[in-house]
């Protein structure tokens, strides 16, 4: 890989950094609740992909590296999805969420 590629990727990363800060000043939540967070995370994921693929050379790496790099995120996905699966389905009366109060 040529060093030129690194500079191009770096320019993209800085561009995305400006984009994520700019996006945070727009009130996107009025279109759809949670849109702000989704946009911020998508930009973060894009930055991460650039770093992983180019700086960490995964683009040119063997299948094994791909599997190892993705396995961790699959497992993280399992943890997030199955945990949220509980929290987002707790019926208000049946299974209250925790209240944050002094109970002495």
């Amino acid at each position: 890989m040529q060093t030129r590629t690194y500079y191009i990727i770096f320019a993209w990363l800085m561009g995305l950094l400006i984009a994520t800060v700019a996006a945070s000043f727009l009130n996107l939540d009025r279109f759809f609740p949670g849109l702000n967070a989704a946009v911020a995370l998508c930009i973060a994921a894009a930055k991460a992909m650039l770093v992983v693929l180019f700086f960490m050379h995964v683009r040119h790496a063997g299948k094994l590296t791909w599997i190892f790099a993705s396995a961790a995120f699959v497992w993280l996905g399992i943890m997030l999805v199955l945990t949220l699966n509980d929290y987002l389905t707790r019926h208000p009366v049946d299974q209250p969420i925790q209240l944050s109060v002094q109970t002495k």
């Binding site: 890989m1 060093t3 690194y6 500079y7 990727i9 770096f10 990363l13 800085m14 950094l17 994520t20 800060v21 945070s24 000043f25 009130n27 996107l28 939540d29 702000n36 967070a37 911020a40 995370l41 930009i43 973060a44 930055k47 991460a48 770093v51 992983v52 180019f54 700086f55 960490m56 094994l64 590296t65 190892f68 790099a69 396995a71 961790a72 995120f73 497992w75 993280l76 943890m79 997030l80 945990t83 949220l84 929290y87 969420i97 944050s100 109060v101």
Partner: protein, 240 residues
């Protein structure tokens, strides 16, 4: 018996450790080892982020308020920029080291950054950027300390809390902020240690033929620490 390679006693070559057959196998093993370790790290931070996500979902207003009130997005943004710069210099350093390995005598063209002789300066710049990051982080921590939002005996005084927000949720946000950034900063410090070791060896020229191994492995680690920050920055600083 079918066949056999060289006798066991002859495996003590200078360019690879005794348990490996050759330098290529050693290089592949080392890289895979680092990737496996990074998978561990993903889950390590992942568990924290899962907990953070749940509380952020439930106490969103408090988290947004606390993020606005007590974190400075511009300091976070500058730090992100600093880390991205350091990722670039690490990538160039790895390039320089590999270049050296495979074509030691190649230096006819006008010198460009990424050439072998730039290895030591690139490593030093990376470390400098890492230190800048830690200094800015330290400044933020100090400001937080002055504002009494650091977990401890006088953790947060809730007089000015706006309606709809519970002081304990603000404390929860700050707790997660300190744990997440604190563990990240610890990783940065470990990274600085690794890079000091690399620089020292690169400077003395004692890497022999496995130099790119060490630089590449430490580079992977540095990029990963950068990656973590890429996610922490929007999650902590940019809650809207």
């Amino acid at each position: 018996m079918t066949s056999a390679s060289a006798p066991a006693t002859e495996h003590e070559h200078a360019d690879h450790a005794h348990q490996f057959d050759d330098a290529i196998q050693q290089h592949e093993a080392a890289t895979l080892g680092m990737w496996t370790f990074l998978a561990t790290e993903v889950l390590f931070f992942g568990a924290l982020l899962t907990a953070y996500t749940i509380y952020r979902h439930y106490y969103f207003d408090a988290f947004r308020y606390a993020s606005h009130e007590y974190l400075r997005w511009y300091l976070g943004a500058i730090n992100t920029g600093v880390l991205l710069c350091s990722s670039l210099t690490v990538a160039l350093a790895v390039h320089a080291a590999q270049h050296h390995d495979h074509a030691p005598g190649q230096s006819a063209a006008p010198p460009r950054i990424g050439q072998p002789k730039h290895l030591v300066p690139l490593l030093l710049v990376t470390m400098l950027l890492g230190l800048v990051f830690l200094c800015i982080k330290g400044t933020e921590y100090y400001i937080d300390y002055r504002e009494n939002v650091v977990p401890g005996p006088s953790f947060f005084h809730p007089e000015h809390v706006p309606p709809g927000i519970d002081a304990s949720h603000i404390r929860l946000f700050m707790t997660f902020y300190f744990i997440l950034t604190g563990i990240h900063a610890t990783h940065m410090i470990v990274g600085l240690g690794l890079f000091s070791w690399l620089t020292w060896n690169a400077h003395r020229g004692t890497f022999a033929r496995t130099r790119s191994n060490a630089v590449e492995i430490c580079g992977l680690y540095w990029h990963f620490v950068d990656l973590v920050w890429i996610f922490l920055f929007p999650l902590l600083y940019l809650i809207r």
